[in-house]
Amino acid sequence: MTSTLAPEDEAPEERPPEGTEVIAHEGLEARAAIAERRRGFFLGLPAMVYLTLLFVFPFFIVGVYSFATRSATGSTRLSDWNIDSYVKLFDPLVVGIVWRSFWIALLTTVICLVVAYPFAYYIATRSRATRNVLLVFVMIPFWSNFLIRTYAWRFLLGSDGPIAQASEALGLGTIRVLFTPVAVAIGLIYGFLPFMILPLYAAIERMDWRLVEAARDLYADGWTAFRKVTLPLTKSGILAGSLLVFVPSFGAYVTPEILGGAKTVMLGSYVVRQFQQARNWPFGSALSIVIMVIMLAALVARQRGGAKEL
């Protein structure tokens, strides 16, 4: 605007047009943006302080301890930094426990998925009122204590329990389930099934059913339409649910302790053992870090997959 008046050899200066109103307006806009950012910061502050103090900082301590030295008396010396604890991770005993934890968690996840998908599909395709009732049923177990519910399984699966009695009455002989990996898997599936159902429900409920109609219209039978359209489009729910079941199953402590017995040690129990009976804090810390890294890897993999799908 003003550049037409400026001499040609001088670069036209970017001057605001005459009148202060525009300038005042710009100042206001900038201030509003700053206020907006500040407001966002203050809103997030309590959670950030909480997480920093009670999660990031302790995790940092765990990291530090994993490089510390265990003295002969079992106390931890914060000197002579070394990676012995990480080397010990490759001990066949430890690898065995990690492997067992992994396949039990994987089995739990797969069974949860197979059981939860049809059920979530069923809920998501009901009327709104029915859906809400069914979702409440999914949540009801959370109203009682997890420990109590797990102990209930100990009774159910025990040698005097109804399952054992029934099998004996039927002449199938005694079946021992309690204190086996199967018992742990049953307990984990029971405990984590809702975490699979809910994200699956959310994903299926969002489905655009006209896409299924389009597939049917294009000569796909019901099963093929499900495989080619519904399943890929609910992948986000499958991934989220699998992660929500796999991650806590992998590090589970309560369920394997109660239902697994001494033979079915899983990672969670093994970590606790390092801090209590074995008094090897550096090794317990290293184990914790490894669990953390594996879970983080799963999370990142999910993010990648999710991004691609969207």
Binding site: D208, R210, L211, E213, A214, A215, R216, D217, L218, Y219, A220, D221, G222, T224, K228, V229, P232, L233, E309
Partner: protein, 357 residues
């Protein structure tokens, strides 16, 4: 008469207590561009969905090229659908979307590639074959949906308000494109729309639906110029309806004593509506009544409001026979009338349609 492509006989669809489609008979010829027109909730989409196989009729018969398909699932019917807002598979690219139907029909993959390419060229999207639906504009998605249906060479193509989501300019362009495409491929199109202009401009024939019933079927000219019911007259275009009664000599007597000589088969004493399109009416000053052609029908009124529409002027004229909207085409040298002026409205007797109450 060409062979019939789709034949509906006594088709009814109930959802609980609601009768969505009420005993419809319809015969659509091979190669025809047929539109189902009506307001939302009139049953037109339900009718289309029954032909596609997404809904089963409560009663009645649906035949495609003579074969009863009413209770067959959609995947075995020789029809394809272009959905409202397209329903493209978001996780497949354009090529995969278009090739889906052929893949399901187990067509050989080299053949699929060839036909998909041809279909995409037909809708001028050959270069976007690897794009995902979300990367395309609305008009392009529309074309993909069309290609995805047409590539299967269906016996009948069903289109459910396919242009509804597009803006006006694009919609008009696509109307022409669709019509040309239909003529080129020669496939029977059944087109559902609530847009009367769309139905009039594209269709060979159209059917007007209301409250689950098919009120009238005919060519666009037939429907527009000879509506057989008040609803059809009112829904298609703008129309003036004047109350009248059939006199003993067969003439129609309007309020205010105007007598119209009209051709009809309605018995004496019946209450009727005389329907007049605004653009078929002419205006002269009441004092210039001698300018009116001798055989024209006429009535006298007062100019109320004048509204400028660019290509035309609208006058609201009040007369003893009732209110009339008159449309005057805007052309050079046009005489304008002012509010309050006494005018004579006149029209050719053939422009009036008679509707029984």
């Amino acid at each position: 008469m060409a062979e019939s492509a789709v034949q509906l006989t006594g088709v009814t669809k109930r959802f609980g207590d609601l009768v969505a489609v009420d005993n419809i008979d319809l015969d659509i010829s091979d190669g025809e561009f047929f539109s189902l027109l009506g307001p939302s909730g009139c049953g037109k989409t339900t009718t289309l969905r029954m032909i596609a196989g997404f809904e089963y009729p409560t009663s009645g018969s649906i035949k495609i090229h003579g074969r009863e398909v009413g209770l067959e699932p959609p995947d075995v019917r020789p029809v394809n659908t272009v959905f409202q807002s397209y329903a493209l598979f978001p996780h497949m690219n354009v090529r995969e979307n278009v090739g889906f139907g052929l893949l399901m029909k187990k067509v050989e993959s080299s053949e699929i590639a060839k036909r998909v390419e041809r279909a995409l060229d037909m809708v001028q999207l050959g270069r976007r074959a690897d794009a995902l639906p979300e990367q395309l504009s609305g008009g392009q998605q529309q074309r993909v949906a069309l290609a995805r249906a047409l590539v299967n060479e269906p016996e009948v193509l069903l289109l459910d308000e396919p242009l509804g989501a597009l803006d006006l300019k694009l919609r008009q362009a696509m109307q022409i494109e669709l019509k040309e495409l239909q003529e080129r491929v020669g496939i029977t199109f059944i087109y559902v729309t609530h847009d009367q202009e769309e139905a009039l401009t594209m269709s060979d024939r159209l059917g007007v639906m209301h409250d689950g019933s098919l009120l009238q079927v005919g060519t666009p000219e037939d429907i527009y110029e000879h509506p057989r019911s008040r609803f059809v007259a009112d829904f298609i275009g703008e129309i003036n309806l004047l109350d009248g009664t059939v006199g003993s000599d067969g003439t129609v007597v309007l309020k205010g004593g105007y007598v119209l000589p009209l051709d009809h088969q309605i018995g004496a004493g019946a209450a009727v509506n005389v329907a007049l399109r605004p653009e078929q009416l002419h205006l002269v000053l009441a004092d210039d009544s001698d300018l009116i052609p001798p055989n024209a029908s006429r009535l006298v009124g007062t100019v109320g409001r004048r509204v400028y529409f660019g290509e035309s002027y609208y006058y609201e004229v009040t007369s003893e026979a009732g209110a009339l909207d008159v449309r005057q085409e805007n052309r050079p040298g046009l005489t304008l009338f002012e509010p309050g002026q006494r005018v004579a409205v006149h029209w050719d007797p053939s422009a009036a349609a008679m509707l029984e109450e």
